[in-house]
Amino acid sequence: MISPRSLTSRLDRLGTRPQRLIGLAVARIGLGATFVLIYLSNLQYRNLLWGPHGAADFDQFRDSMNSPRRYSLYMISESTPWFNAVFFTGLIVAVLWTVYGTRPLTLLHAIFVWSLYERNESLLDGGDNLNRILVILLIFTTTNAYFSPGAKKVRARLASREPRPRAATSMHNVAATLVVFQTVVVYAVAGLWKVVGSRWREGNALYYITRVDEFSTNSVMPWLMKDPFLLTGATYLTIAVQLAIVPAALTRRRRFREGVLLLIVGMHLGIMYGMGLVSFGLFMMAGDTTILNDDDYRAARRNLRATVGRIRHRHSRLDQSRPHGSPAPKPRALEDIRT
């Protein structure tokens, strides 16, 4: 049983320091850029896909919007100029959100994302499903503390505040946790469903998937999946990676989390290349970036810098030991000359 004092101290802790600011900023860029690409890649087919006289009948669409809690900006008018106005405004908002990521822009972007998705639901895949959930959760978070033009200012404001609980920070932290939870649920559910499937258990599911014409963009994957060892290994690895996301999100072991995330990114790159599900892969990877916490990102950055430093150091030593008559070394940087 939690005592009242313990409960209040936990609540205060929840609202004191915003979590996962880096991961959410990376997710914002991933989700936003992918949505911009959806707008751009379908620009010339926009009327067929979402237009008032396109494949999805407008009257039926308007009827479906009559049910409670459904909305779409596209339902306001059947005219083509209105459709184009909403479409291109949505594109501009998506670009602005990807770059700036302020909270009002997040809300605006969520409205346009939902409007487009509702206009023709038959075009959506699992990646879109995740995107439209995450974009709502992101309304309650701060996504512009990193990788945006105003990021330094946002971080300075957060740092200058006296350390006391704030309602906005509580909401941010709860929403950030839900973003991670939602992403983990996607993989855990997909992994558990695979465990009960006979073809996944037999280790030949990827053979069948790579032979579905809809998802066969090249002949490399079907050829690779003919080999029983590669096929079984890849099939079981898919299940293992999807299930490993749960302990990866919960553990304190950073290396394990990073390892699982790298494997998932590899899996999505394979899906994007082998099956042509590019937006699906990008949306999923954007969600995955929230699984790493801020300390993970900082540690990864430190490690990367150290590795780059080691490589540079090794190169400079090689240059010094170069024999006479070899090509002259490149001019050194001003800082190096001063030292």
């Binding site: 890649s41 896909l49 649920v185 998937i209 579905v212 809809e214």
Partner: protein
Amino acid sequence: MFRPALRWTRLVSLTSLLVGVGYAAMVLCLVAPPSPAQEKMASAAYKIADPYFVQSWQLFAPNPPDANTYGWYQIAYVDASGRRQETDPRSLNDLFVGQSQSQWVFPDRVGRIVTSLDEELVNLQHEQIRIDTLRRGPAATGDGSDPAIGPSVSASSVAGAQPRVPDTEAVKDPRALDGLQKALDAAVARAAVAVRRVASPLADELHLPGRVVEVRIFVTTVSITRFSDRYRDHPPSPKIARVGDSHWLAYLPKGGR
């Protein structure tokens, strides 16, 4: 500067936390393995989740498709002598899906129009068979799937389709069956609009020697060679089945509704 009292901040924190826990509980109810308890909880959770937080994450599970699905369109026209003619079936997949796949760096969504229409027609046919079976009563057996190929998991199962709420009461109550049939008829009417909108412009492009009167889209499945047969010189012939059909529908002239 206005500073809310600490107790209000704590109240907001507590509310946020409770909403978060509620969200997590709702999601877990929706994605839990099917069981009598889950069915009851999921229908309640679905009312809250729909439309904003619908969960569908099977992603090629429990089993990937064992057949390829192909859409075909046919056009009927009246020639100069007044006789009705029908074109040979032409592939929709080559037109739409092939085009999307040709730009794999970032494919467009045009191919999805066909794959979702295929899926819709297959589902409608399955649903009609299911209702007919239920009408025949408990003696009728079978799951309503096409006997030639079995209940295929659609190739588009990766799509985030909304889960259908099971209607077990329909077997006992004829009025419930009528309700199912009514819902199905409405879905058929919706699919018919989509079929006319997709197939009619294709009829225009063919420049047929006569007046186009009707269009039709049907769906076939071709089974994938089994893994164990992949190296056989003469693997068993693939099973081919017609699994969905819009039947003939009136042609929609350009600009018509």
